[in-house]
């Protein structure tokens, strides 16, 4: 067994062994390990299968940029697509590889690789078109979905997250060398500062490589420790670790997600992650850089990895993925890797550089020579070969000569890019640097400062200068820093995007996007097919469209495209970087707004009584309303509603109508205002009377209805529909403030202050006279559509004579605090008269028998009062009201508008079904003319059959004729079109 541990790493607790499972097999790692570093410790290199071709894949990077090593965490509700390179292990963790069947080692889906010459760019767009439209949905899509893709969605998910808001002056993104220095320079200033680091260790490059050995004469780890202590002791800087900034919005609004369970199993009773919503004045981006890869034949084999990542595994995670790696580079960033390996007495098997011997830094050159490492200059890795793991590579030198090197590991470096993702999200502009061959932040749009390698400043000697210059606006503490680095300070790179190798076979591929299986050939094909704009090319090839967003490869693609088109990279441009920077779980976004907190639940003041009395509830907007009250467990909804309806028609019933919106309108001009808001005229109405009223939109369509009580010309109380209350109040406010500011009028919601009980039925008067024995309920003393205030047991109540059922009835308005007392009293006294509570379904049935509409059910935003036959409600003599002018528009006076009618089945045993279409002929021939539909339908216990309301084209003139209604089993039933009233047409019961 080769010793793969680097005991020098201070971040791994080598005395704390942790066991975990990968694909069912138990392995050991140490505290501090990621899944990836632990797997390397166990010699595992094959970790997943690729998206499209099911090619074997290993670990390519050591961070958030990982394209390949995505795993499913079985022990956390089977969370899919977790980056093995970021997620830390804990005792008992269960991990599974993704996108393979039946096993990772033997994957049937890899047959796709054999057919891969067929699956070129745009394959889906071109192939799955015929022979019939239904083939996509029924055959292609299910098959493709099964074969392609990432992890499996979790079956049962219960992550808990919370949200935290911050308002600060400065946010520093990234706690590496520059982030720490920025914090030091702001130490104990008057700025409120937040330092955010995605890792659980601050230090960045100081931890990840051996580039910097000493800062200000101290070993770098010692310097970090001291600096962190200073920051933690400061009054103005807060550190957030394990927190990834995913989003940089307009007006310096950042979103960051904090993992609360790093290296531990999340529990159900505590918050797993916190979403930080941060508003700040300034943002300092010191989030560093990302290394990019290089394309050559089979550059995806397990055992190929980015050079800087290899070094990070050694330094940060104390594991050496291979003892004999080959290094292939075109830039100076790999120098420190050679240094790190040699310090551990590991001799790279070969060092291959596309640069010439003169271009390679002298220090590195000497090191390689001194240690006798095989050096290939002016050379490129042409291809890699191996079965499920790297076995050998072919190196080609400038003369075209090739040599073969047997190796199990290859470290690749194609250069480094500033991590500009957040900078571009903030809408800053990038500029191409022809020397360093990368995009660098140029013009910021917001108060954004970039520092260090995030700004494209790769020279360590410049750090002090840059920070003092760029942070000057804060009048900070001056930074004095002396960095001793082990390698060359200057960054140097030679242009190389892909190795131009001859095609060796149809199946060997040179990948440009590892996660989405896009090859350099696909890029060429897209351009030859005319997709030469970068945004088009991205969508056609799916390049950089994976969950990694092409972090290690998108610049390479731009380089290849610019060469192919013979354009400057700046002219090619980039695709737009959109948030989030890395996948953000829905659980984190939802926060506490999930499960029972998803939407507020509103309850009537007597909700508990309903529960005790066995009510079944219905959601109406945010309200929980009793739907019906079954008298036993076995009574069905139909039976309960029939029984309740019958009882209301024969005896009496009471409904909890507390959810109805109630708005109080007061002011010198309240009468004028009400006349403008509603269609009706309230001018001649006597104080103490009530009126059914309609509210329209400016387009003339019915928006809401309700009963208006006039207390005086300066005081009204309006009821609204349960769901429309907020909108009606908002509409009143809008017009009062914006259109008629001269009117002295004020309004407020009193919905929750008062409970409402609607009692109705032929025995109502007797019951009311008993409950409120001092009040005269005779027709003369208390006529229909009037209201009175009464004192009842020291509580002021309002009683209104009104009805929504067609029976005589009263509405009682009670302060919410006394609601239960009066509700129980009504039941106590009403029992002998057969009074029962009834729910919303019975209310709907009874009102439909009377042809009373429900706004939103019988109307849909395209129905005028005239369409409803409610012409009588329009104040003809009023000069103006909302929507008045629209009622005479050419469109609203058409006779063939959809109008409200009643319908009855010709054969009484037929069922009329809500939502079905009205036809004029018996057979259904497509296309069926859209004449109208059934808006309400119920079975009437009074009539003994079903009936309905419908909106039909030219309906008013069709009354008295016959038609057909479709049914859910594609048949039709004959119907009679009748007036929309089925019960007590003369309203005798109402006013009795």
């Amino acid at each position: 067994m080769i010793e793969l541990n680097n005991q020098n790493s201070p971040f791994i607790h080598f005395h704390q062994k942790i066991s975990f499972k990968f694909d069912g097999i138990k392995y050991f790692g140490y505290k501090g390990d990621t899944i990836a570093s632990a797997l390397f410790r166990n010699g595992i290199k094959l970790i997943g299968r690729s998206f499209k071709y099911h090619r074997p894949r290993g670990i390519y990077t050591c961070g958030i940029e990982e394209p390949n090593a995505l795993v499913q965490i079985i022990s956390e509700y089977s969370e899919p697509n977790v980056r093995a390179t970021v997620k830390k292990i804990y005792e008992g963790m269960e991990v599974e590889s993704q996108n393979r069947w039946p096993s990772l080692d033997f994957d049937i889906g890899s047959i796709n690789n054999v057919f891969s010459p067929l699956f070129s760019a745009g394959f889906y767009y071109k192939t799955f078109m015929g022979p019939h439209k239904s083939f996509w949905k029924k055959i292609y899509e299910p098959v493709i979905r099964k074969a392609a893709g990432l992890g499996k969605p979790p079956k049962e998910f219960k992550a808990i997250s919370s949200h935290l808001h911050h308002n600060v002056d400065i946010v520093i993104v990234g706690g590496g060398l520059n982030g720490l220095l920025a914090a030091v320079s702001l130490l104990n200033t008057n700025y409120d500062v937040l330092l955010i680091e995605s890792d659980n260790q601050l230090g960045g490059i100081l931890n990840n490589s051996s580039k910097i050995n000493e800062i200000n004469g101290k070993p770098s780890q010692e310097w970090i420790k001291e600096t962190i202590e200073n920051i933690e002791n400061s009054k103005n800087i807060k550190i957030l670790k394990n927190t990834l900034v995913t989003t940089y919005n307009y007006i310096n609004h950042l979103i960051a997600v904090e993992d609360k369970y790093v290296g531990a199993k999340p529990t159900e009773d505590k918050v797993n992650s916190t979403l930080h919503k941060i508003r700040t004045e300034h943002v300092i981006l010191s989030n560093g850089h990302i290394e990019r890869f290089l394309s050559f034949q089979n550059n995806d084999l397990p055992g190929i990895m980015l050079g800087a990542s290899f070094e990070k595994y050694i330094c940060r995670y104390g594991v050496i993925p291979s003892k004999e790696p080959v290094i292939f580079s075109n830039n100076s960033n790999s120098n420190s890797l050679v240094q790190t390996l040699l310090e551990l007495n590991i001799k790279p098997k070969a060092y291959i550089d596309s640069r010439s011997g003169e271009q390679i830094e002298g220090q590195l050159f000497d090191l390689i020579r001194k240690n006798d490492i095989p050096l290939y200059t002016n050379a490129q890795v042409k291809a890699a070969y191996g079965n499920k793991k790297l076995e050998k590579i072919i190196v080609e030198d400038s003369s075209g000569g090739t040599s073969e090197i047997a190796t199990d590991f290859l470290c690749v470096s194609g250069g480094i890019n500033p991590d500009v993702h957040l900078f571009t999200q903030s809408k800053g502009l990038l500029d191409w640097d022809e020397k360093d061959l990368t995009y660098k932040p140029s013009t910021p749009f917001q108060n954004t400062i970039t520092l260090g390698s995030a700004s494209g400043q790769f020279n360590l000697e410049e750090v002090e200068n840059e920070i003092n210059k760029k942070l000057k606006i804060f009048s900070p503490n001056k930074i004095k820093i002396k960095i001793k680095s082990s390698t060359a300070n200057e960054y140097q790179i030679q242009k190389l995007w892909e190795v131009a190798a001859h095609k060796s076979s149809m199946w060997s591929k040179s990948f440009i996007d590892l996660q989405n299986d896009v090859t350099t050939k696909d890029i060429r094909q897209a351009i030859s097919e005319g997709f030469d704009r970068i945004e088009h090319l991205k969508r056609f090839t799916t390049n950089s469209m994976g969950t990694d967003q092409g972090k290690i490869s998108s610049i390479n693609a731009l380089g290849i495209v610019s060469d192919l088109l013979d354009k400057k990279v700046n002219e090619v441009g980039t695709t737009i970087y959109r948030p989030p920077y890395a996948p953000l779980s829905f659980a984190a976004i939802a926060g506490r707004n999930s499960y029972e907190f998803y939407d507020p639940e509103r309850k009537s003041p007597i909700h508990q009584w309903h529960i005790k009395n066995g009510a079944v509830f219905e959601d109406v907007g945010q309200w929980k309303r009793p739907w019906y009250f079954p008298n036993s467990k076995s009574e069905s909804m139909h039976d309960a509603v029939q029984r309740e309806s019958k009882n209301v028609r024969e005896n009496a019933g009471v409904l909890d109508g507390s959810t109805l919106g109630k708005i109080e309108i007061k002011g010198k001009d309240a009468l004028n205002f009400m006349n403008l808001i509603y269609t009706n005229s309230f001018t001649k109405m006597k104080p103490g009377s009530a009126r059914y009223a309609l509210m329209l939109g400016e387009d003339g369509m019915v928006k809401d209805d309700g009963i208006i009580c006039k207390i005086s010309d300066e005081h009204f109380i309006a009821t609204t529909t349960t769901g429309g209350a907020a909108n009606v109040l908002a509409c009143m406010e809008e017009y009062a403030q914006t259109e008629w500011p001269n009117l002295k009028v004020y309004m407020n919601s009193i919905t929750e202050q008062f409970a409402t009980f609607n009692i109705s039925g032929p025995k109502t008067r007797e019951i009311m006279s008993k409950v409120f024995s001092e009040i005269d309920f005779s027709n003369e003393a208390f006529p229909f559509m009037t209201f009175q205030f009464h004192e009842f047991e020291k509580t002021q109540i309002r009683i209104m004579r009104a009805s929504f059922t067609g029976e005589m009835g009263y509405e009682i308005y009670v302060p919410a605090s006394s609601a239960l007392k009066i509700w129980e009293r009504i039941h106590e006294y009403g029992k002998e008269f057969g009074l029962i509570p009834y729910g919303t379904e019975t209310m709907h049935l009874l009102r439909a028998e009377k042809g009373y509409i429900i706004v939103g059910q019988d109307t849909d935003g395209s129905i005028t009062p005239i369409d409803l036959g409610l012409n009588w409600m329009i104040g003809k003599n009023k000069i103006d009201f909302l929507g008045k002018r629209s009622l005479t528009r050419s469109d609203t006076v058409r006779s063939d508008r959809k109008q409200l009618v009643g319908i009855m089945p010709t054969n009484k045993e037929d069922q009329i079904q809500e939502g079905q279409h009205i036809l004029l002929q018996e057979t259904i021939e497509t296309p069926v003319p859209m004449l109208g539909h059934i808006t309400s339908s119920y079975h009437s216990p009074t009539m003994g059959h079903t009936f309905g309301l419908a909106v039909i084209k030219d309906g008013h003139s069709l009354i008295g004729t016959k038609a057909f209604a479709s049914t859910s089993d594609q048949k039709t039933i004959p119907i009679d079109i009748v007036k929309p009233i089925f019960y007590d047409e003369k309203n005798e019961r109402l006013v009795s």
Binding site: L430, Y439, E739, D880, R885, S886
Partner: protein, 116 residues
């Protein structure tokens, strides 16, 4: 998310507000004898410029007050906020902010990512 400076309450997050569309659209009152077309334009037609736009907002989860603002729709920058009875600020005041012929500022619109 925008920060909107409510003239009554001070700066607050956008989530407390609702947008009310174009501002300064006068409602023809019922005493006016106007054609179907004129009325229809009031009800249904609003301008939708790329660039400077007068618009209405209401602090719906705050003081419930309506107010007006001038916003650059291509960058989301709010240039001025004023009460309903304040005079309408002339667009001239802001015009130097627009740089490109299409009305697109060269930084901040998000349509450009790279310096030309």
């Amino acid at each position: 998310m925008l920060v909107i400076d409510c003239p009554y309450c001070g700066p607050r997050d956008q989530s407390e507000f609702s947008n009310g569309g174009e501002a300064h659209v006068k409602r023809p009152d019922g005493s006016q004898d106007i054609s179907d077309r004129e009325w229809g334009e009031y009800v249904f037609i609003r301008s939708n410029p790329k660039g400077l736009f007068y618009e209405r907002w209401v602090h719906s989860h705050g003081c419930r007050k309506w107010f007006n603002c001038v916003r650059d729709t291509s960058t989301d920058e709010i240039l001025e906020i004023y009460k309903l009875d304040d005079p309408q600020p002339p667009l001239k005041k802001f015009e130097n902010k627009i740089k490109t012929p299409s009305g697109e500022p060269d930084v901040g619109s998000g349509n450009f990512t790279v310096k030309k």
